[in-house]
Amino acid sequence: MMQVKRPQLSFWEKTYIPQILKGMWLTLKHIPQKKFTRQYPEEKPPLYGEYRGAPTLVKDPQGRVKCVACQLCEFVCPPKAIRVIPGSREPERADANVEKEPDDFIIDMLRCIYCGYCEEVCPEEAIFLKRDFSVSGYKREELQFHKPKLLELGGVHEDSLWKWKYKGAPPPDAPAAPERQPK
């Protein structure tokens, strides 16, 4: 058995008054200090590193939809949030790269778990998880993101890998294709 010796308190310690004053000084000191509140809708929190936000579809630097409707993302998606409706593309169209593209591409943001498997599996680097984290809407329908919305969110992806060359001659203002680095 261990006997714990109680500390002998001095007279002032027994009155608690110095401790109370010390505590009050501490709280007073905090009044002018820097505040940690983040005023959320105006001030967004910093997002670090490989933050995974909402999945989006991107275009290549020539403004062509990169997705070729292979549906790998649809198959890999754990919560089955993605639905791709594949379609064909007229080969004469200026923005055509391959013969397939999605007629519609639907991501159910109410089901998406932001796992990033779709980005990982995409052979065309067409789907990216961007940094939008605040996905909200008033109706369920608003949170079914269709192809135009996904392309708008995604924008243009400035990648170094140009898988699909220009059809015919490149437009005069087209950026030059970078040299492939040999491994």
Partner: protein, 343 residues
Amino acid sequence: MNLEFLLISVLKIAAVIGVTLTIVAYTVLLERWVCAWMQDRLGPNRVGPFGLLQPLADGLKFVFKEDITPLHVNKFYYLIAPMITMVPALLSLAVIPWGSVLPIGERMIPAVIADLNIGILFVFAISSLGVYGIVLAGWSSNSKYPFLGGIRSSAQMISYEVCLGLSVVPVFMQVGALSLGQVVGYQANNMWLIFTQPLAAFIFLVSGFAETNRLPFDLPEAEQELVGGYHTEYSSMKFAMFFLGEYAAMFVVSALTVTLFLGGWSLPFAPFNAPATSLAVGLAHIGVFLAKVFCMLFLFIWVRWTLPRFRFDQLMALGWKVFIPLTILNIFATGVVLVLWGK
């Protein structure tokens, strides 16, 4: 009792109640601000500039909330309890001198509604009614947490009323009058009583904390144990009445402390050390009084967000075993000093 006196009194009552309720509403905002700042947060800043319209939003919210009366309550007492809490707090404002005088033309209007010659006794008589509101609320709610809160508050408020009453006796021994106006006049001529009666001031203030159910003595409404205590079953404006009553009581204790120990409207230099001779100075006196009250309110809030709650036995021990002997000793010592050295 002529018509003019009646009219001026009614005007003064309207002014005092209006100003008090505004201050009370803004004390709630101040409380939220100070609490936030002490915790390194920003506090309310969304409604109006700097959040200054927050009390208005809070009030509107209370008005539009559903007013629920549970089926198991005693309806009459349930209804009357919030009023009994609110009214005594406002009543005791009648005898507190807000300033010296307001000279308007030839008339010298005293800046107090009624300068009773038994001022402080009136305050104690009225403020001890406040406990009925809480006890009735706890009892009529007919459920366990409000009941426990009511029991605690009756024990606490009755115990600390003794300390409160005894602690101010030396003040009146020294001044030689019970009228609050004369107490302030004495302090304007001599020094503030906090310097001659520091122990009385300290005990009065701590008992005031206990009387107003403020932390560290907020056992009647201890959120963690009693789910809000006596006002658990209340909602909407009835709850708001308790809320306002509590803050109004805080204002009254602050005003009393300022009047009794901090010199009321006076400051130790001209023109604040003698009754006003012009309207501007009279209003400045009221300003000084309100500034002091504001400091006291800040102290109340400051203490609340610093100290943890007392245990119930500690609370009782502090009241009965420490403060009551100390106040009696203080009365005795003051008597000895007065007899030996005279006035």
